[in-house]
């Protein structure tokens, strides 16, 4: 396939079967390989759409500075787009994210402001909001509340899935900003009667969440619970186990958040199988494993890998 530039090569990712992990020929799993995007993650879709919308609305002007809270992938996608479109980028990133993300961002020329590990991504959002208030000329695209994030998936991810898997019964993806699930979910619900939209959410250890107060729970502005039909919370141990299973059983080298998504997908697959229902389950692989090699997720025993991952943000 030929494209005019790397920006034109966003999306159009393959959907591959996972026959060995599927419970039966009537209950099948299909993986949407978003790591095949230009910077290696699903976030290229949202970044391209958010920047295009910012330009159209006059929010972004030549030489503008973009500020964004991100645990990595969105930052890397924005860094690529910013580089090509002539913007500066400042990322607010929790200090407990992987080293690879930091190196990549710096290689693209982005600046990084570290936010405290405790509180995770929510804390990064708070720090970014503080910086935005101090620097009114900086442009925060704010992936958690930017409708262009959702629209990217409504206009691209959803239609691609429907074309490749018209008999789709379930869509399973990670819940972060909720852009992927809201956009793809709304599109599929409009076109496939009875389709199930399933969110998989990472459940971190107490080191990340332990001391936070219940009332501080952060819900992204894009999130609309009515789009979802089910929501799973997946422990680091299960996410790691499934990530390795995907690699050893299907030969798919995915990031840890995709193990989380696979765990939820296998949960709905088991339910369909037990109920004797046919199911064609599409799950979204947000990125590959490259950026997580330094976390130790892929080597040694599962228990060792889990201990190394404790306190780190893996999605």
């Amino acid at each position: 396939m030929r494209y005019e530039s790397i920006l034109d090569a966003v999306g159009g990712t393959p959907l591959v079967g996972l026959p060995r992990l599927s419970p039966s020929p009537d209950v099948r799993l299909w993986a949407k390989l978003e790591d095949r995007n230009p910077t290696g993650s699903v976030k290229d879709r949202a970044a391209a759409y958010m920047v295009a919308a910012g330009e159209k609305d006059g929010l972004l002007y030549p030489g503008a500075t973009i500020l964004e809270p991100t645990s990595g992938n969105t930052g890397i996608s924005l860094a690529m787009v910013a580089r090509l479109r002539g913007y500066k980028l400042i990322c607010v990133m929790p200090e407990n994210t992987s080293e690879e993300r930091r190196i990549l961002l710096e290689a693209y020329g982005a600046s990084i402001v570290a936010s405290p590990a405790a509180g995770g991504s929510n804390e990064a959002v708070r720090v970014a909001q503080g910086l935005a208030a101090e620097h009114p000329d900086w442009v925060m695209l704010y992936q958690y509340g930017n409708e262009a994030n959702t629209r990217a998936h409504y206009e691209t991810t959803g239609p691609e899935l429907l074309t490749d898997l018209p008999e789709i019964t379930h869509f399973v993806a990670g819940l972060g900003t909720s852009g992927t699930l809201m956009g793809t979910g709304r599109f599929l619900r409009e076109h496939v009667p009875g389709v199930q939209i399933v969110a998989a959410e990472p459940r971190y250890g107490e080191l990340v969440y332990g001391l936070r107060n219940l009332s501080e729970g952060f819900v992204p502005e894009l999130y609309d619970e009515s789009v979802l039909t089910s929501r799973f919370s997946v422990s680091s141990a299960d996410a790691l186990r499934r990530t390795r299973e995907m690699l050893s059983v299907e030969g798919l080298f995915a990031g840890i958040s995709s193990g989380c998504v696979l765990h939820a997908a296998l949960g709905v697959a088991a339910k369909a199988q037990a109920a004797g229902q046919r199911a064609e389950i599409a799950l979204l692989i947000a990125d590959a494993g490259w950026k997580y090699l330094s976390t130790g997720a892929y080597g040694g025993t599962l228990a060792e890998a889990e201990a190394r991952l404790e306190g780190q943000l893996w999605a």
């Binding site: 990670g174 729970g217 947000a286 999605a315």
Partner: protein
């Protein structure tokens, strides 16, 4: 056999510091009522007049109970119920 209930750190003052407690019941509502007998005040932190509190998530075998009937979700022996503060997650 019973139903295992996992408690987050911030609510362990109600369980004498225990991470995990056990209870019985055929619905989540019955389970929480059963627990409240031994761990007074716990139910109040999870439930208000309108049902489950907004910033509390309860999972039955990793699945959010809000999508499978809320307090009337069916539970059975061997299930695991996990209580968590509401948080966003995922790759971003």
């Amino acid at each position: 056999m019973a139903i295992e209930v996992r408690i987050p750190t911030i609510l362990r003052s109600y369980t004498g510091g225990q991470k995990s407690i056990e209870g019985t019941g055929s619905t989540l509502d019955e389970l929480l009522a059963d627990l409240d007998g031994r761990y007074g005040g716990l139910r109040e932190r999870l439930v208000d007049d309108a049902g489950l509190r907004r910033f509390i998530n309860v999972y039955l075998n990793d699945e959010d109970v809000r999508f499978i009937g809320g307090l009337s979700a069916t539970v059975s022996d061997g299930d695991t119920v996990t209580v968590l503060p509401a948080v966003a997650g995922g790759s971003r």
